[in-house]
Each structure stands twice: as C-alpha cells, then as structure tokens.
C-alpha cells in the first residue's frame, strides 16, 4: 500500500525567514504529486504539481517554489516567509488525472 509522509508536522517561523516543507511517498513509482495550501477553515488551493523527477508545474505560486529532486520526494520552499503563508500545507498524490487524490497528514505553518 502507498503511504505519504510530510515533514515537519508543524512549524512556527518568523516573517522573512526561509521555509522548507517535505513530502515523501512510498510504495508507488513515478507518482503524480501535488502541493495544496489551506487557510484555517478555508478551501484547498492547488499550488504545484509534478508528474516526474525534475519537472514542476506552477498553478498558483504565492511567492513559493517547489522541486522534485527524487521520484518519491516533493519539496515546497521559500527564501522569505510572509504572514500570508500561514496555513495548512498538504501534499497529495494521484494515480492519473481524474482519479482520487490521496493526501498526506499535512504540515501546519504559523508565520509570526
């Protein structure tokens, strides 16, 4: 069975500091991976997706970037955090377009 793990679980960071969030999926080769952002109680905003190593497509950037350094790894980062970056970041995978999204447990970020 496929498992998706995100790290860290939670972070409190200062405005202007860098950020790196990670996502690893096991049990699935060449997964299609997504990053989503959710404000508290809000909708799920798709940020990036990647269908292969080294390739990332941006949907909405929000002053963030993403990378796919390994087949099973997806990284979300920024060099300078803004207050508006606070929220819940979710990594997800899908077998193919039109299929079910499976989410990781999420990383909660508070920017102060």
């Amino acid at each position: 069975a496929q498992t998706i793990h995100q790290w860290p679980v939670a972070e409190i960071k200062a405005v202007g500091s860098p950020l790196s969030l990670g996502c690893t999926i096991k049990g699935k080769s060449s997964p299609n991976l997504y990053w989503y952002w959710q404000a508290t109680g809000g909708t799920l905003q798709q940020l990036f997706y990647s269908i292969t190593v080294g390739q990332v497509e941006s949907v909405v950037q929000l002053n963030l970037s993403a990378s796919r350094p390994k087949d099973d790894q997806f990284i979300l980062s920024t060099e300078k955090l803004l207050l508006s970056h606070s929220g819940f970041y979710l990594c997800a995978w899908v077998e193919a377009p039109g299929n079910t999204l499976y989410f990781g447990e999420g990383s909660r970020l508070i920017v102060v």
Partner: protein
C-alpha cells in the same frame, strides 16, 4: 476556467435530521466529481466520487448523483450523526483536463445532540 460552487458555508443540524450540501460545477471537459471530508486538524479524505451521469453513488450513509444536465453533484444523508461534523469539499477534475483539481469553498457541517 473550471470552477466548483458550494453555496452553503455553514450548515447546522440536530442529530437524526437529513442534510443536503449543494455542489455545482463548470467545465468544458468530461467531469469527474468528488466529495472529500475533512475532520478537525486532519487531512481531507475521499467520501464519494462519480463520473457517471444520473447514477447514485453511496458510501458511509452519504449519497450523491451526478447530473450533467444541471452540472450538479449534491451530497445527501438521510440522518446525520454527531460524527458527521466536519468540513466537506466538492472537487472537480477530468482525465482530459490535465492535472488541475479544483475544489469548492467548502461547507462546514455542525451536528448538535
């Protein structure tokens, strides 16, 4: 572009009553519709999905029917339980629409004793 509309932001009900959460969508592709449920401090999980017109799909007491003629995929349950309190998202994707998955704004369901 593609869009999903959920008209209710908050629905409050007493246990045992029926519920319907509205979802309508717009797309030029063949629609695949999903309902995801998110409990407090958890990740969203799939509740229901459908791509077949006019066919009812059911899971855990919830049901929905995709109606392409009205571009709707409303979620229903005949008798809500306290454990149904959660945030519900309707989502749209398509095998021919690329890798974008569009979520509605979400409906929070609060069930009281």
């Amino acid at each position: 572009g593609d869009s999903v509309t959920q008209t209710e932001g908050l629905v409050t009900l007493t246990k045992g009553l029926p519920v319907m959460l509205n979802c309508t969508y717009q797309t030029t592709y063949s629609p695949f519709l999903f309902w995801y449920v998110q409990h407090l401090n958890e990740a969203p999980k799939l509740l229901l999905k459908s791509s077949t017109d006019n066919k009812r799909t059911e899971h855990q007491g919830f049901y929905a029917t995709l109606h392409k003629s009205s571009s709707s995929f409303h979620l229903q349950k005949s008798s809500v339980q306290l454990s149904d309190s959660a945030l519900y998202f309707c989502a749209l994707s398509s095998p021919t629409g690329g890798y974008k998955v569009v979520f509605g704004s979400g409906t929070r369901l609060l069930v009281s004793p």
